[in-house]
C-alpha cells in the first residue's frame, strides 16, 4: 500500500514538476497537498509514543500502530521532498529537512536493528535476563562465586596469612601456603572476581570464550580432581557474566538509537508546526 502510494505520488510530482510554469513550489496547490499529507504521516508516526504511554486505549492493535509508524514515517520523507521540490530553502526549512532525514534514517536503522537483532540475541545470549536486573544478577553471581571459592579455599584472610607466613589471629600455627587451593585463590582474586565485578579497564582473556576455556583448563591441571566441579561451576558463572555483558551491548544497540530518534522527532514536529503557520502567513 505504501509503495503504491509512493508510486502515485511520484507520478503526480513528475507531471507537476515538468508542467508547472514556475517549477515545483511548496506554496502551490499540489505542493501544499504534498506538505499536508507528509505532515499527517509524521503526526501519525509521532502518535505511536502516545499510544505506548496509554496502552489501555483500545485504538487498534499495537502491531498496527507500529506498522503504521514505520511505513507512514518512511513515506513522509519522499512526500516532504516533493513538497519542497527537492530544495532545502531557507534556514528553518533547511533545519526541518535535516531533522527529517536524520529522524527517518535513525528510524530505518532502528527498525533494521530491531528486526535482525532479536534472533542474534536469542542465539548468542541464551541466558538472557531482564535488562534492568543485570546489576542484581551480577551481584548474585559474585556472591555465589565468593561462596564457592571460600568453601574450597578457606576465607581470604587465612590464605593471605599463609602467603605472608604469619599466624592469623586465633590460630596456633602458620597456615600451609603450599596447599593445592592457592592457584584457585590467585586466579579468582586476580582474574575472575575483577571480571565478574566488571572492573577490567583493559580486555581480559575471560571475556573471550576460547581463552577463558583455556584458562580454566589450565587451572584444572594445577588443582586436584575434587576441585574440578567447583572450577566447572566457576566457568559457568564466567559464561553467564559474558552473556550478561553481551546482553548489555545488544541492549545499547537496540535502544540507543532512540535517544536520537525520539527527541529529534519531537523537535521536528514542533518546528514543522511553526513552519506551516508561517508559510501560510507568507
Amino acid at each position: 500500500m505504501t509503495l503504491v502510494s509512493l508510486g502515485v505520488a511520484t507520478a503526480v510530482y513528475i507531471i507537476y514538476a515538468t508542467r508547472s510554469a514556475s517549477g515545483p513550489r511548496g506554496g502551490s496547490s499540489i505542493g501544499l497537498a504534498f506538505g499536508i499529507i507528509g505532515s499527517a504521516c509524521m503526526i501519525f508516526a509521532g502518535l505511536l509514543g502516545a499510544r505506548k504511554k496509554v496502552p489501555v486505549w483500545r485504538l487498534g492493535r499495537a502491531q498496527t500502530w507500529m506498522r503504521g509508524h514505520l511505513w507512514l514515517g518512511l513515506l513522509s520523507l519522499p512526500l516532504i521532498c516533493f513538497h519542497a521540490g527537492f530544495r532545502f530553502g531557507g534556514l528553518l526549512t533547511s533545519v526541518l529537512m535535516i531533522l527529517l532525514i536524520v529522524v527517518v534514517a535513525s528510524g530505518i536503522f532502528g527498525a533494521a536493528l530491531q528486526h535482525y537483532m532479536p534472533s542474534i540475541v536469542t542465539d548468542r545470549v541464551p541466558m538472557e535476563t531482564i535488562f534492568e536486573q543485570i546489576g542484581n544478577i551480577r551481584a548474585q553471581l559474585i556472591a555465589e562465586a565468593d561462596e564457592m571459592v571460600d568453601a574450597m579455599c578457606g576465607p581470604p584472610s587465612l590464605e593471605l596469612a599463609a602467603v605472608a607466613k604469619i599466624m592469623p589471629v586465633g590460630a596456633t600455627t602458620v597456615p600451609d601456603a603450599s596447599g593445592g587451593t592457592l592457584p584457585l585463590r590467585k586466579f579468582y582474586s586476580g582474574e575472575l572476581r575483577p571480571f565478574l565485578r566488571n572492573e577490567n579497564k583493559v580486555s581480559t582473556p575471560l571475556a573471550d570464550e576460547t581463552k577463558a576455556a583455556a584458562m580454566f583448563d589450565g587451572l584444572r591441571t594445577l588443582l586436584p580432581g575434587n576441585m574440578h566441579e567447583t572450577i566447572g561451576n566457576l566457568e559457568q558463572i564466567c559464561e553467564e557474566e559474558r552473556q550478561l555483558r553481551r546482553q548489555v551491548t545488544f541492549h545499547h544497540w537496540l535502544h540507543g538509537w532512540l535517544i536520537l530518534h525520539v527527541p529529534l522527532s519531537l523537535a521536528l514536529l514542533l518546528l514543522g508546526f511553526a513552519h506551516a503557520i508561517m508559510a501560510l502567513h507568507y
Partner: protein
C-alpha cells in the same frame, strides 16, 4: 554442588521486584532530551521573534537584485488589513517595477511571481524558465484574430521555427543595388588606390567610437534599438547602424556632376539636386562669361569642308544646358548605379524608389552583436562573401545559432529569455519610488517601504 541444582528460592531471589521503579539511564536521557530539544527549538524561534527578524522563515535566499530587502519581508509581503496572509502580490512588485503587458490579445496574464521566482538564491530574476513561455506558446491561442506566429514552440533547439527573415521564399526588401562579393574583393578600387574592405568598414554598432574609413569623419550616431529592450538598458551595442551613403559609401562612390566643380551634388532628392545644380551654374557663369560662346558646328557632310560657327548663349540658356547635361549624367549613370529610378516620359524629375533597408531584421527578438564580437562576421553571415544580389538575405538561420545555443551545461544560453522579452517596453510607464532609508541606518543603505 552443581549450579543446576540451585533451589527455586535461590532462583527467585535473582529477581529484584523493584527493578521497574528505577529508570534506565537510556530512558532517563531520552526523556530529558525529549524535553530539552523541543524547548531549544522554541527558544531558537523565540530569539528571532524577539529580534523581530523573520529571516528564519524565509523559503530561500533572495536574488542579488533584491538582497537589500532581505530584512524587509514587508516590502513584498504586504499584509492586508483583517487578513492573516501576507502573500507577495503583483501590487508589491509594481511599487518598484513596471511590467507592461505582453500582447493585447493574450488569453491570460500570469502573475509576476509565476515567471520571476524569488527565494531561489542569487539567480537572475529575468532568467525565466521556458515553461513560463511555453505555457502559451506550446499551444498558442488568442483572444483576438488567430496569431500569425507558430503555434507550437516548445524550446529553442529542435522546437523553434526557422527565423522568418530567412525562410524559404524570403528576400531582402531593400532596393539599393549592392553586390557584397565585389565589395569584398581584395583589389577593390578605392579613393586612393586599391583597398580591401572589411565588414566593419560599413557595419558597426552605434557605440563604436572609431570614425568611418570610407565615409564621413563623424562616428556612428544613429541608434537602432529594439522595443523589446527597456530604454534604460539600451546601450547602442546590440544592433548595427543602418547603412547611410554619407557614412559608408561617399568616399568611393562620388557624386561628381561637372568637371568645372570639385563639389559633389548632395545625396538628396532629385528636387534638391536640381535646385543645387541650378544654383551652382548660376553662380558660376557670371565669373566665366567666355563660356557663353559655344561652338555650333555644321553637319559633317561627305566631301564638304567643315566650317564652324559659334553662337553666344544667354546665361539662362547656358545654365539650362549645363543642368540638363549634369542631370543626364546623374539620372542615367551615377544614381542608377545604386538606386532604382523611374523616369516618367513627361516628368521633369525622376522618382527614386525608397531604399527600404530594414533597420532591424529580428523584430520580435533581441540580438546583441556586442556579445558575439569574438566571432568572425563570416561565421554567421557566411553568404555575405559570395552574395551578388541585393535580394539575398545574408542573415544566419537558426541552425547557425544552435551551434552554440542549445541545451546542455557546455553550451550558450538557449532559454527563451535570451532572445525574447515578455514585456512590451513601448508601453512602459514610469514608476514613482516609494522607499526611504530607514532612520539611523542610512550608512548601511537599508531601505524600507513606506
Amino acid at each position: 554442588m552443581p549450579r543446576s541444582r540451585l533451589s527455586t528460592k535461590k532462583l527467585a531471589q535473582r529477581i529484584d521486584m523493584g527493578y521497574f521503579k528505577r529508570p534506565h539511564p537510556f530512558r532517563r536521557l531520552r526523556s530529558i532530551l525529549s524535553i530539552c530539544l523541543p524547548l531549544l527549538a522554541l527558544i531558537w524561534l523565540g530569539w528571532y521573534a524577539l529580534a523581530r527578524n523573520n529571516r528564519v522563515y524565509s523559503s530561500g535566499t533572495l536574488s542579488r537584485s533584491h538582497a537589500v530587502l532581505t530584512q524587509e519581508c514587508g516590502a513584498c509581503h504586504l499584509k492586508e488589513s483583517g487578513s492573516f496572509t501576507a502573500k507577495a502580490s503583483d501590487h508589491a512588485c509594481e511599487s518598484c517595477h513596471d511590467g507592461p503587458i505582453h500582447h493585447a490579445n493574450q488569453t491570460f496574464q500570469p502573475n509576476c511571481s509565476s515567471c520571476h521566482q524569488e527565494h531561489r538564491g542569487h539567480l537572475r530574476l529575468a532568467a525565466t524558465a521556458d515553461t513560463s513561455c511555453t505555457q502559451c506558446h506550446a499551444d498558442l491561442h488568442s483572444n483576438g484574430p488567430s496569431p500569425h506566429f507558430a503555434h507550437d514552440i516548445t524550446r529553442f533547439d529542435g522546437g523553434h521555427p526557422e527565423f522568418a527573415a530567412v525562410r524559404s521564399g524570403s528576400s531582402d526588401p531593400g532596393t539599393i543595388k549592392l553586390n557584397h562579393a565585389i565589395h569584398l574583393r581584395h583589389d577593390l578600387k578605392g579613393p586612393n588606390g586599391s583597398v580591401q574592405l572589411d565588414c566593419t568598414d560599413c557595419h558597426r554598432t552605434a557605440a563604436t567610437k572609431e570614425s568611418w574609413k570610407f565615409g564621413s569623419t563623424t562616428p556612428a550616431s544613429a541608434q537602432v534599438e529594439a522595443k523589446d529592450i527597456p530604454p534604460s538598458k539600451q546601450t547602442g551595442r546590440a544592433n548595427m547602424v543602418p547603412i547611410a551613403y554619407t557614412k559608408h559609401c561617399s568616399a568611393c562612390h562620388g557624386l561628381q556632376f561637372d568637371p568645372r566643380f570639385q563639389e559633389q551634388v548632395p545625396h538628396d532628392t532629385p528636387a534638391v539636386i536640381h535646385a543645387f545644380l541650378l544654383q551652382k551654374f548660376q553662380q558660376y557663369i557670371p565669373s566665366h562669361p567666355s563660356e557663353l560662346r559655344v561652338a555650333a558646328p555644321n553637319r559633317n557632310l561627305p566631301q564638304q569642308p567643315v566650317t564652324t560657327t559659334s553662337r553666344v548663349l544667354t546665361a539662362q540658356e547656358w545654365v539650362t544646358l549645363r543642368v540638363a547635361e549634369s542631370e543626364e549624367l546623374l539620372w542615367r549613370k551615377t544614381c542608377p548605379q545604386c538606386h532604382s529610378l523611374v523616369l516618367a516620359p513627361n516628368a521633369q524629375l525622376p522618382l527614386i524608389t525608397k531604399s527600404n533597408i530594414p533597420p532591424r531584421w529580428f523584430t520580435h527578438a533581441v540580438f546583441d552583436h556586442d556579445a558575439h564580437k569574438f566571432l568572425k562576421c563570416a561565421e554567421c553571415h557566411a553568404a555575405a562573401t559570395t552574395s551578388q544580389a541585393t535580394a539575398d538575405v545574408l542573415l544566419p538561420g537558426i541552425q547557425t545559432c544552435e551551434k552554440c545555443h542549445h541545451r546542455g551545461a557546455e553550451s550558450a544560453e538557449s532559454r527563451c529569455f535570451e532572445c525574447h522579452t515578455y514585456h512590451d517596453w513601448t508601453k512602459e510607464k514610469s514608476v514613482k519610488g516609494s522607499f526611504t532609508f530607514r532612520a539611523g541606518a542610512a550608512s548601511t543603505g537599508n531601505a524600507t517601504a513606506q
